[in-house]
């Protein structure tokens, strides 16, 4: 089921939280929502889940508008809010029963669904405990279980792995990936590595506006128009190597890495490529080229560039 966000705007008083954002998420796609605090991620998610209405624009889930058809939309969405609110005084199993009933899960299937969710989310040992007796990580699993219980077509997860330990994070990521093969998943996170590991596509928003949209590698390329390679050259004079590299036609800048490693970072001029030239230079001079690796910019740097300069 497709989610399409069309020119969405929402302001709180004079402050614009979301400023005409548009994007589309297709079935079988996992989209990561990135942005600094207060960028409008949570607001956008609250609008998609029909908790808030936009000031302008619309969101369509499977062609149904959140404004004119909220109840039909809500039936298809599983939502884990950022604060993971739960009825803390209820036992896990009763809580899941309540959510299943209210989500229109047929009576005959409720038991099976609860059983499945308890297994999938690793709650078998805790199902009779009251929710407020569980640790934060287990509460997060309950939140995830309630979002998944009606097998929704669209899954909206606001920071799904917060509070989980590393093992649980890996499990939940695998789970999200599995679900994402058939369903539409939108998740937000502060952890860039997580988004990179789980998501097919990344959306970066800043101050309510969409500033980037693409896969992790395309974002890196987009932010980095000049090629950088790290080379290690041995059997030569450090000073001479440095000068020869700098003299190459396509090279803009050579960075010295610590002296003893004989390594250099070579940045090419825009839209040029110096890898062949470096190789030929080494052959000519009789140096041994022991390493040549393209330096990829980290997603963190891309993120910083996009969200600080704007």
């Amino acid at each position: 089921m497709e989610v399409s966000v069309e020119n969405l705007s929402k302001s709180y008083g004079f402050q614009k939280a979301v400023d005409s954002i548009s994007f589309k998420v297709n079935t079988g796609e996992i989209v990561g929502f990135l942005g600094p605090n207060g960028a409008g991620k949570t607001t956008t998610m609250k609008i998609i889940t029909c908790f808030m209405a936009p000031n302008d624009g619309d969101v369509k889930v499977g062609g149904l508008s959140v404004q004119s058809n909220p109840e039909a939309v809500k039936r298809h969405i599983g939502y884990l809010p950022e604060t993971n609110p739960l009825y803390k005084e209820m036992p896990v199993i009763d809580y899941l029963q309540f959510v299943a009933e209210i989500q229109n899960v047929p009576k005959s299937k409720i038991r099976d669904r609860i059983f499945e969710m308890v297994n999938v989310c690793g709650l078998r040992g805790e199902k009779y405990k009251k929710i407020n007796e569980l640790s934060k990580g287990y509460q997060q699993r309950v939140g995830l279980a309630q979002a998944l219980i009606h097998d929704p077509e669209v899954l909206i997860l606001d920071e799904p792995t917060s509070g989980l330990d590393p093992n649980q994070i890996v499990e939940i990521r695998e789970l999200i990936k599995k679900i994402g093969r058939e369903k539409t998943v939108i998740l937000s996170s502060h952890i860039l590595a997580e988004v990179e590991a789980t998501c097919d596509r990344i959306l970066i928003i800043n101050k309510g506006q969409l500033v980037a949209d693409g896969t992790a590698s395309s974002l890196r390329k987009q932010a980095q128009d000049k090629e950088i390679v790290k080379v290690t050259i041995e059997d030569g004079n450090h000073e001479e190597i440095y000068r020869s590299l700098q003299a190459l036609e396509s090279v803009e800048l050579v960075d010295l890495l610590p002296h003893y490693t004989m390594a250099f970072e070579v940045q090419s001029k825009a839209a040029m490529n110096s890898r062949k030239a470096i190789f030929r230079l080494c052959v000519e001079k009789g140096w041994s080229l022991t390493e040549m690796t393209p330096v990829e910019r980290k997603l963190e740097e891309v993120f910083r560039d996009l969200t600080i300069t704007n």
Partner: protein, 241 residues
């Protein structure tokens, strides 16, 4: 309807899980029992086989207890954020409101049902006017429903339960006492207007065993106004401006 019942069931369970229901029932039975049978103008002093004294004392106990029941219904959900959970499920605001209203009303029904032994006892002692007792209970239920709807409204405007409780008492005391008092001490159309607005007037006529469509209409209007106010507050959240 089904959705309303799901929400009612959950609320009712949480009343019993949080001991609120037991405290309410014990205190109510304690107060009303004490003043009906043991102290003050009790049944033996009056010397009539009627439940007038019970209806008189319930009129006040319920007035104080109902805001305590309703104060958490929405305020607590807004404080803990579970309102977001509820409102992103496929239920309408009206279903949420109706479900919570029904839960509080059912708790009152259970409490009042536990006072039925009073009726059987009195019926054994002497000749009881059965229809008057029935009307008295009906009056209590209508009064409770009115205060529940006011309490639900005050619970929707805040995330603080104490504020919700006090606001419900504040609004309630006008209907319960003040309109009646002012009406008595003034005259003309103003007095009759306030007299008609006073809940006590309508309750007393029912508790005496007189049924009048005017009284029923009065209670239904308060219930409707309270629920409508709650809906307006809740829908502000997804208003598009």
């Amino acid at each position: 309807m089904n959705k309303i019942w799901i929400i009612t069931k959950r609320e009712l369970r949480s009343f019993f899980d949080s001991l609120m229901a037991y405290v309410m029932i014990v205190l109510f039975l304690g107060f009303s029992g004490f003043f009906t049978w043991i102290f003050g103008s009790d049944i033996f002093l009056v010397g009539q086989a009627s439940l007038q004294s019970f209806f008189g004392i319930s009129f006040w106990t319920l007035f104080f207890f109902i805001p305590a029941i309703t104060m958490g219904l929405l305020a607590e959900e807004q404080k803990s954020g579970t309102i977001e959970l509820l409102m992103t499920k496929p239920v309408s605001d009206w279903q949420i409101i109706a479900g919570k209203f029904m839960a509080a009303l059912l708790l009152i029904c259970i409490t009042l049902a536990l006072t039925l032994p009073y009726y059987f006892t009195v019926a054994n002692i002497g000749k009881v006017d059965h229809s008057a007792v029935l009307m008295g209970y009906l009056g209590l239920l209508f009064m409770s429903a009115s205060y529940i709807s006011i309490g639900l409204f005050t619970s929707s405007i805040t995330s603080n339960q104490i504020v919700a409780f006090l606001a419900a008492l504040f609004i309630g005391i006008f209907f319960h006492l003040i309109f009646g008092l002012v009406s008595m001490s003034s005259g003309g159309w103003f007095a009759s207007l306030l007299g008609n607005l006073s809940l006590a007037t309508h309750y007393e006529s029912m508790a005496r065993g007189v049924i009048d469509s005017k009284d029923i209409l009065y209670f239904l209007s308060i219930i409707f106004a309270g629920l409508l106010g709650t809906e307006l507050v809740l829908s502000r959240r997804h208003a598009s401006n």
